[in-house]
Subunit: 354 residues, 5 copies
């Protein structure tokens, strides 16, 4: 959290539209890949420099330019001026601490959202920011680093499976968005596994670590909510069809993504509910175990206390204590002690104290 | 929960409209039953294959085609192309992890909701997804497996009771929806019984199991809410009369189902309130019992402590301890001990400590 | 709660509009009373059978037909067909488990709400359902049993006090609604008394019963909310003047009832707040008392522990223990014990431990 | 609370518009004061009877008639019929248990709100109801008793300071409302002082009283919320300019009062947050103190337990116990005891147990 | 909090528009600085008295007049009459206890918001009120004292960097607002660091101070919310473009600030969530530590209790106790004690009690 804020405070005092890369430099080289396609054919190419992309802008085919790596400000600036992007849009692309947002311009739509990865080793969530610019016949996508969830989409373009190749750039933008939202379900699944693990732990041997773990889960839900809540509004703005760039036929697909986003939110909220129940369960479990120990020990002590008293009585040094002289006095005393002990055990048992 | 997410994550990376059956294969054979009726006569038939249904599409009578079993993708595809369903609709039908939704098309309305069963043995809720397609003169219903809550509706068609036979397919869709929502009340009743059982347990012998049980109840309310909350919006969309497929005269009936859905929600919310009160009651009850035990034992110990001290005093070996030589010294000591014990008992009693 | 759900689940599987009396049969005989009045004269009559009411339908005077007892389905059906009520309206009248609702038809308005009684003996709330049908020149009221809060209204009709006799049936409906809402205040008052009693108990001798009592209060607020929340919407629909059956001049009166309903809600919400504060107070009070006991006993024990140790030391059997031979050794030992005891008492006192 | 409900339940069963004074009779004599002014001159007079006010109704100057004391029904009725007030308005004026409300009529606006006083001695809040009737050229104000927060306004009329004398009756109504809302800040200030006192107590010596005090604070916030929440809506209705009686130029002033009301609400909500934090702090502080005591005593006991055991060993009466015959055996035993005691103390210290 | 209320209650009883400086006098001298610029040139000047500013009002260039120090009422009044500000606006400028607000007039827009500083030494937040008046060709800004977050904006004017010099006064107002909101991120960052520090403390040695610290954090979030929540509405009013003073081209920038404000709110809400989780963690950690101590001590005592009992038995003075005469009786007794002690230790270990 602190790290994320550190990024944002870096921005303070800058003129709006100043391009500052905010975030970790996650990759060394900026990598630009281009897909250009229509229903009949497609080209795939890795661009050596940013200028190679520009000719595609003027072709009637759908062009998808993907940029991995945001730290090279000059690349962003060149793309910005070629595609006539608003300075604030460029600022947002470079600032990886933004929350999901949408900005609809006359000639393009700017979309910003988060990819979420679940780190299997640390059980922590990590975020990567994705920005999309949807123009008349192109889609620009900006990512912080190589590696994404768009592999199946690239395959669909290559193989011409489904309707992707037959549809316009708005459908491509939808497909990218859909891939990101679908990926949330994978994260949620892992998350759900974790919660089940905690539940198992709770019924066995909960420790101080379990609570820290629950606390970690809580923070993860907070991260997820920050990524998904605003996304809902973003998709909703797209669905409402305020821009001619989104065709009527694509709207039903967007509504589908919207439903998925809602479902993610729903699940996150359910997780919150369940986790808060787990805290109760944990606290009660810990206190029950503790109580069990204390109760057992106290009962144990309570049985010896009267016995020790009896021993104390016959340890007194009075001259006239008839019992002391009895032949079987000692055994009688031991017998009485046994009776008392058994009697107390029986009494406690009947009271259901153990 | 994890299982439910496993299903959803299966979907990730698929092209939209790809038909993948998501969910457990709950039945082996796909079973198709057809009801075809108007006010005068009705036909009931079990179809051997999906093509048998198609002729009914063109008859002016109301046709209800019910499909049990969603794992046979080819059946779905055939129905989809015959009835001109949108690929996303087919995807939703096959994906049993969807939340309740409605999609209004020009020529048909697609409805998706959940049947809930209460498993009497495990006290768990199970869901089955039901999808309805309401067309001009037909209703398609898709279920995961045989066995449903539509028995009384079939009877009403057969016997011509009520107005069902006189009304159109929109009324049939309403009747199916109504049957599902009415069924929620049966689940709620069982649920209410469970809560009462917990309340009884709480006033008798609450244990760690009781809390787990309460936790289970909580999760069940979460499941119920996920099924019913969106249903409300679904019915509301129908009621608002946005489609010509729903006739004016049916709207009042839909409003009635809507009222029932609200009532289900209300009850679920009340259950949540009551359950959260039960957690308090449980924790307080556990801690009260524990306190009772500890208090009793501590009082018990406190009475013996001064007695043992007195015994210890007269167990000292000083040469000059006049009491030791007294004739009735021993009995005096015992007497003093008795007085102290009774005094303390009386004191604790007066303080209302037990 | 379970009982209330039992009623609702009875309804499942019935055709809509099927008349089933849902609820306890609270009275044996159906009792029908008729008031017919205008500004000049009034008639009051108890009808032997339901047909006696029908002539009044055609008179220009205001007619109030009150039916006590809902289990006689045939009576309801006759009224239904004479006054042309929708089958769902009749179903709602017979189903006493409905939540407050309003349905505005062209020729009549259907209102459903709850009378609440406070049972002084069990401190529980009981509900009775009241349904109103407001027509052009009549008001039908349906109750589960004889005995209601409409006495003063009958008196006002009889005596011609106020404007009731001069106004139409919409004003009568308002008056009945007003009587029910005013009655909520009486229930709230008793409820408030109860809460004060709990507060008194809390400062004296809280026990496990107190918590159960608080839990009972909580459930009562849940019952109240279920009755009043939807009523607000019901009245609001009336006020918005969507029906010509409600005259402009009556609207200000309805707004007044609306204000009262809000005030009831407000008070219920305040009660919820206060009750949840009481739970905190209770738990803290219980734990404070327990702590007090444990602390006192522990201090008590702590004083005797060193004394017993000293006695133990001089009970050792070493041959060379010079103190044992001293003339005043015994008294010195007792003295030291006294000093230790007083010293500890003083120390604990100064630490403010008791 | 109970008292407040007692008032309301008195109203039940009355015909609407029946004038019943609900509330405590807080003053014996009804006192009527009249201010009549325009920009040039002003008259101030105490009226002997209610009829003296009536001539002012017809003058073009602004007239402010203030009535202290609501128990004299006949006075209210005379004013009501002279100023043509709706019976429900008179009922609301007399019923001091109403929540803040507004009713806009064609010829006048009726406003009802609460003055809040902080009783310095009991630390409780008390409310007084104020009703305003704003007409074309007059303002009627009704209070339960003499003594209010309108002193500065009277001074401003007398001295002609500010714009009050130049403006119409709507501005006067605004000024009265403003005075009441400003007074809330004074109450809040005292309230804030109280909360600070509690915070100081919490860091010193929290007791059972502290919690009761916090509970009292909570109830006070509930009272405040009931007074201020609806006031917001009341002022908002005025601001929206639905009545010609409120001039355009006055609206900005009303918006200012509205801002103040929001600020009061904000502060009350902050208080709620802080108070709920104080409960946590209190509970933790109490439990920490208790833990401290128990821990110290337990450590104390734990040191003596092994010592007493050693003394017990050498108090055994075996014939062959070589240590007993040793010359320095006694001192060695004492030495061992000392070593054990110091060792344990050291051990506990190192474990940071005290 | 109390201090802040003290300010507000000072205002009570004043005529509206009365200029009273409410707040601490934070600076002695009122300091007025003037920037006057267009795309080509700029002037910067410190004004000796308020009249020096007036000529700039009539120039077509953009003029930014900044006033540090609000206690000099006469200065405010002169500016107010020269720039024709509404008396209530002047009152709001002088009253530093206002919450963020906006008032749109025909000829100017009045904006009020809060600068927040984080005091590194006391870890407390302090607020400074900033008021902006945005006119046709000027911006007035009022601050409580010298020192602000506008340094970079002054630099941008001086150096002509960015578009600031080319844009109108609405862009300047935006830039000032943006600087304030960006500054919130810096505060949030420090705040986030604090929370991390607490988390570290919690896993090491939580004390009573930790809780007080958490309580302090909570109060800080309350302060932040009070500053930011209303700001959102303020900016939103600006964005909605209700005034011709805000140009179309500036709107997208305002939307950007709006996004930032939302992000601040989001972060504050996340902090609230995290902090409330920390309270749980703290309480559980404290109680775990305490439990650990008590458990260890109780186990320790439980081992000695039976040993002492055995010693007591052989300390009895019966004449016939054969063991006492045995040659190895003493050692046998010691041996039994050792066996019992080791056995108990083993038993407790196996039960996982320590």
């Amino acid at each position: 959290m602190a790290k994320y804020l550190k990024k944002l405070s870096k921005m303070a005092g800058q003129a709006p539209g100043t391009l500052v890369h905010i975030g970790d430099k996650k990759t060394d080289k900026v990598r630009i890949t281009i897909f250009d396609y229509n229903a009949e054919h497609y080209t795939e190419r890795e661009a050596g420099n940013v200028e190679e992309c520009f000719p595609f802008k003027r072709t009637p085919t759908v062009t998808w330019i993907n940029i991995d790596g945001l730290h090279d400000i000059s690349t962003l600036e060149k793309i910005g001026s070629e595609f006539e992007l608003h300075p604030l849009v460029l600022e947002d692309i470079a600032n990886t601490a933004k929350r999901p947002a949408i900005e609809i311009f006359d000639s393009y739509i700017f979309l910003l959202f988060k990819m979420i990865y679940y780190d299997n080793e640390t059980d922590k969530l990590s975020m990567e920011q994705v920005s999309l610019v949807l123009g008349k016949n192109f889609v620009l996508s900006f990512q912080e680093q190589a590696g994404d969830v768009f592999g199946p989409i690239r395959d669909r373009i290559r193989k011409g499976k489904g309707k992707l190749r037959k549809m316009g750039p708005d459908y491509l933008a939808y497909a990218l968005l859909d891939a990101v939202v679908d990926n949330y379900f994978i994260v949620l699944e892992k998350f759900g596994d974790d919660i089940e693990k905690v539940e198992d732990e709770l019924s066995e041997t909960p420790g101080q670590d379990t609570l820290k773990w629950i606390h970690e889960c809580k923070r993860n839900t907070i991260v997820l909510r920050r990524a998904v809540w605003p996304l809902r509004d973003v998709i909703n703005s797209l669905v409402r069809g305020e821009s001619a760039l989104v065709k009527k036929t694509t709207e039903i697909y967007l509504r589908d993504v919207y439903d998925h986003a809602i479902q993610v939110m729903d699940t996150v909220e359910s997780f919150r509910d369940i986790i808060s129940g787990l805290v109760d369960l944990y606290l009660s479990s810990i206190s029950n175990r503790m109580n069990e120990v204390m109760k057992t020990l106290t009962i144990f002590a309570s049985i010896f206390i009267p016995l020790t008293f009896i021993a104390g009585v016959y340890g007194m040094n009075f001259e006239y204590m008839p019992e002391l002289g009895w032949r079987w006095g000692y055994y009688a005393a031991l017998g009485i002690m046994a009776v008392v002990a058994v009697g107390l055990l029986f009494f406690f048992k009947r009271k259901k104290w153990f």
